[in-house]
Amino acid sequence: MSRTGRLIGGPRGIHRIPQKTPLFYAPWDSYSQLTPSMIDSYNILSRKEHKMSQSFNNNHNSFNKIYINPTVADNRSDILAWLSPLDPKARHQDVRERRVEDIGGWVLQTEEFKSWSAGTGSGRAESDKPVLFCYGGPGVGKTYIR
């Protein structure tokens, strides 16, 4: 499969678009793992997105939307994964579901927290502390209480 493609400017910057069949263009060979049913769902989704984009933005070039999006979406997630494979949002979601509402709310009411979160750092005031360190022994509830 060829890696060469024409560079064109899309809505999200410069993207490489394939010269041949878009769905089988594989910068990382990821498309070669697609099954026909996945491709079908993808095509359906593309059509749906295309319809939505038309209603949102009539003067948008629909050619770009349909044919470039596979590469754009793929490129975008590749870049994000390249920046870091870690996903702290998943851990956060987990903590979020387990923690009990309102517990630890007193921290938000402390002067330290209030001035920390309200500070903008723009004044460069000596008293402005951009770093807030909450410390405590193991199990006191720094992350949450379980």
Binding site: I14, E101, F113, S117, T120, V131, L132, C134, G141, I145
Partner: protein, 204 residues
């Protein structure tokens, strides 16, 4: 809790909130470059388009040596260009669980980030023993709060656990009151005893 609070405050503002959870068990997977990369990823995630600087670097590097990662200095530069327009809250949980050889680099990176992007606010949790290290690297920019479970927190917690109890027949209001009273006072004492000697040794 703090992250959720910041997120709800940030809605509609020109503000980003990013988080990172250091974990003792995955120290090897959390070097400083991945930590910074993760922050950058979260900032970029909220943007409609990936900044030219980042997509360009990606295109350059994926051809070199089969896909090269970024250096700390590259990541700091990118974080700077991505976050200058916004106020950026960075929340870091359990910094003490970061590998010891990496803590200095993480803190120095944060220090640089603060210098380059004055809108950055950093929230860190950890055990007290890393406070001297934080102060040494971040200097007078640090303020701190000591965390201990408050009596009200414990009562709220026990109530929520009791409410979720499936054998509710066995519970009546006087038993509930007894449990709350007993457990809450025991726990408060436990933490007073457990934290006091530790704090004194920290001061010394």
């Amino acid at each position: 809790m703090v992250i959720d609070h910041l997120c709800s405050q940030a809605r509609g503002q020109n503000t980003t909130v990013t988080c990172f959870y250091f974990d003792f068990a995955s120290q090897n997977e959390q070097p400083p470059t991945r930590f910074l990369g993760s922050l950058l990823k979260q900032m970029v995630f909220g943007l409609d388009e990936i900044p030219e600087e980042i997509s360009g670097a990606y295109d350059d590097r994926r051809n070199a040596l089969g896909g090269q990662g970024l250096q700390i200095s590259d990541l700091l530069k990118m974080l700077q260009t991505t976050s200058t327009h916004n106020r950026a809250f960075i929340c870091i949980d359990a910094l003490d669980e970061c590998a010891t050889e990496h803590i200095a680099k993480v803190l120095d990176s944060l220090s640089q980030l603060l210098q380059r992007s004055p809108g950055t606010r950093i929230f860190v949790t950890g055990r007290p023993h890393i406070l001297p290290e934080i102060r040494a690297r971040l200097g007078g920019r640090v303020t701190s709060i000591s965390i201990s479970p408050k009596r009200d927190d414990i009562i709220t917690y026990i109530r929520s656990r009791l409410a979720a109890d499936t054998t509710s027949d066995a519970m009546d209001s006087s038993l509930e009151a007894d449990i709350l009273e007993k457990v809450a006072s025991d726990i408060s004492e436990m933490y007073v005893e457990a934290t006091t000697p530790q704090n004194t040794s920290q001061v010394v």
